[in-house]
């Protein structure tokens, strides 16, 4: 036990004396969460739009006023002719143009029907989609107002309600994802690097020719990172609660347990990587290419798994991060308990045990 503690003490010296790894450990989580929370976002806010109003009557003015009043849009420019639409998009000044047809009010009253064209800049398809949805919603609302007195028979009114993230805040989406990335990065990459560093500097040779058992070396290596990863997870959750006002609906205790499980699986992956790489650089490359990319691309963090091609959907199943994201989203946003995520937890547990077994088996007790 004394040996073990001595070993862990040494690991902490390494971590705290290496400014770079310290920065990765603590700077990165905070930078990432702030970046994803503030800068990279799907939400729309004060989007610049232009209006092309061919009728300029009471109704169109009212609609324009409503749109201008909403916090989502700000009217940047009023244009006069169709040919301006193209040029204003090309200049990149606005994201959308609302085109009201001629005689809008007249048509509405006479024929009970008037049309408005929503033209959006789809170079950014997500934003384009959201803009058109928001405009639609404003128009619907206005229509309802108009129809208040009249009752139409056989009317189907779709009423959609977003639950669990009512405000459609993308930060709620990103927090679980960023947490997953960071835990993966810190745990897998840092452990694999710290083990291969011993190999590269030759100290592994001395550790092998010492009474330390392989399991003591492995646990001694990963223990500090378990500890630091937990601190990181706590920092991330605190940041999301206090800066982004993200509610954590479920039990924090369960969230903690699941995080520890995921951390351990990532650490086991890190050990596995260190057994196949001889230098710190290889370890870092394998961690980045082999772990980070799948976590970002295939875990459902940014791209929904259901819209992936079938082969990728199958592959996504072997990525621990996918299951962890499902679990923490459920706990944080839906507030469910273990009875709803036991299946995912079990899968994650199985993977963890498999990785640990494999890495202990592959850990070399000699130099060859």
């Amino acid at each position: 036990m004394k040996r073990f503690i001595g070993f862990i003490k040494k690991e902490f010296y390494h971590i705290f004396r290496d400014k770079r790894s310290l920065f990765i450990l603590f700077g990165m989580p905070i930078a990432q969460i702030l970046l994803f929370g503030f800068a990279i976002t799907n939400e729309i806010n004060n989007v610049d739009i232009a209006i092309l109003d061919h009728s300029k009557d009471a109704t169109t003015k009212e609609i324009i006023a409503k749109i201008a009043a909403s916090e989502y849009f700000s009217i940047k420019q009023i244009i006069e002719k169709e040919s301006d639409i193209e040029s204003i998009f090309k200049k990149g000044k606005v994201k959308a143009v609302l085109n009201f047809e001629k005689d809008f009010s007249k048509n509405l009253i006479k024929e009970n029907k008037a049309s408005i064209q929503i033209i959006t800049d789809a170079t950014d398809p997500n934003t384009a989609n959201t803009i058109s949805n928001f405009v639609n919603a404003i128009l619907q609302k206005y229509q309802k107002q108009l129809n208040k007195k009249i009752t139409i028979v056989y009317q189907i009114i779709p009423e959609s309600r977003m639950i669990y993230n009512t405000e459609l805040k993308s930060v709620y989406m990103f927090v679980p994802g960023v947490m997953t990335i960071i835990l993966m990065l810190v745990s897998a990459m840092m452990t694999s690097i710290s083990i291969t560093r011993e190999k590269e500097l030759g100290t592994m040779e001395i550790l092998l020719v010492s009474p330390l058992k392989p399991i003591q070396v492995i646990i001694g290596k990963v223990f500090p990172y378990i500890f630091l990863s937990i601190i990181n997870a706590i920092v991330i959750v605190l940041l999301s609660i206090f800066i982004f006002k993200m509610p954590v609906q479920g039990s924090l205790f369960l969230l903690g347990l699941e995080s520890v499980l995921f951390i351990i699986s990532a650490l086991a992956l890190g050990i596995l990587i260190s057994t196949v790489s001889e230098t710190q650089q290889t370890a870092m490359m394998i961690s980045l290419m082999g772990l980070m990319l799948p976590v970002i691309l295939l875990s459902g963090f940014i791209f929904p798994i259901s819209s992936m091609p079938f082969p990728l959907q199958v592959i996504s199943n072997i990525i621990p991060a996918k299951w962890f994201i499902i679990i923490i989203k459920a706990i944080m946003l839906k507030g469910v308990g273990l009875q709803f995520v036991w299946k995912e937890t079990l899968i994650l547990l199985g993977m963890t045990v498999f990785f640990i077994a494999l890495s202990v088996k592959k850990y070399k007790i000699r130099l060859e």
Partner: protein, 300 residues
């Protein structure tokens, strides 16, 4: 016997590192493996310290088999690899403490063993190992390898890259350790260090050329050897190499070590020959063979 190696062979992909090596080291002996870079010294050390498997043959270290009882060996030997292998970001004291702890001991417990060495580096004990000079690094590495009072100490080229003064101090320390009943197997490419060992094995290309005490090895040198000097070293070597009766010509400091192939060699003949080559200040004196001469002769 502290170390007994029998018929060890080892080859990497297409390089033979060791060929049928056998030797024994007695308890408390200071045994030197002398050979140039790439002779197979490090491979042999790694086999004996249980880090590598031999392809053929067996070895016993401190009464344990290097394959079967590798765990016991790892408890009872000290190993100092050729490459500096301590934690560069830890201070002298932290390194020493760390190695003491993982071997289940403390600095105080075996302080008498390392005292002579530690005293020299103690003033810098708060300095990080990476910032130490070559000699201090080696002293620290030796302390770390000794801190658990090993039965057998393996030192792989401990003085490579160390200045002459520190090298001498280092060997003095080894001599003192030997008195404390620690068996030491040390490798070095420096022939002058060989003379400080009790017995040496000359090793080249994975084969042992000869095993004996340094004195007998030198005594067995088959020919009288001469120190030759002249005003122009380069011209001298060229001329000697061109001399039809030469047996060996090796530059050795300010002299050239020369042996002749004839049994009735007369230095005056050589002097006359060198004069024809326009050399002046020619001196030829008989001298004692060194280990280096022997090595060169055997390696021929």
């Amino acid at each position: 016997m502290s170390i007994s190696v029998s018929n060890i062979s080892k080859s990497y992909k297409n390089v033979t590192a060791l060929q049928d090596i056998s030797f024994e080291v007695k308890k408390g002996e200071l045994f030197g493996l002398i050979g140039p870079d790439g002779a197979g010294k490090t491979t042999l050390f790694r086999i004996l310290t249980t880090l590598l498997f031999a392809d053929k043959g067996s070895a016993i270290v401190a009464n344990y088999d290097v394959v079967k009882d590798y765990k016991s060996i790892r408890n009872s030997v000290g190993y100092m690899p050729g490459k500096f292998s301590l934690y560069q970001d830890l201070t002298i004291e932290e390194n020493l403490n760390f190695f003491a702890t993982i071997f289940g001991t403390t600095i105080e417990e075996n302080y008498d063993l390392i005292k002579d060495i530690y005293i020299q580096i103690a003033p810098f004990k708060d300095r990080k190992a990476g910032k130490l000079s070559g000699g201090m690094k080696q002293k620290l590495a030796l302390c770390c390898a000794l801190i658990h009072k090993p039965e057998v100490l393996f030192l792989d080229e401990p003085t490579t890259g160390v200045d002459p003064v520190s090298r001498k101090e280092f060997w003095d320390m080894l001599k003192r350790l030997q008195k404390k009943d620690i068996t030491i197997l040390v490798s070095t490419p420096y022939m002058d260090e060989a003379e400080l060992c009790d017995r040496i094995a000359l090793i080249q290309d994975g084969k042992i050329l000869e095993i004996d005490t340094p004195e007998s090895i030198v005594k067995h040198y088959p020919k009288p050897i001469y120190n030759v000097s002249a005003n122009n070293m380069y011209q001298l070597i060229n001329s000697l190499n061109a001399y039809e009766f030469n047996h060996s010509v090796y530059p050795f400091g300010e002299f050239v070590h020369y042996t002749d192939s004839r049994t009735d060699f007369n230095p005056e003949d050589l002097k006359a020959y060198l004069k024809t080559k326009k050399l002046s200040n020619i001196a030829i004196e008989i001298t004692k063979a060194t280990i280096e001469d022997t090595f060169m002769e055997l390696a021929k």
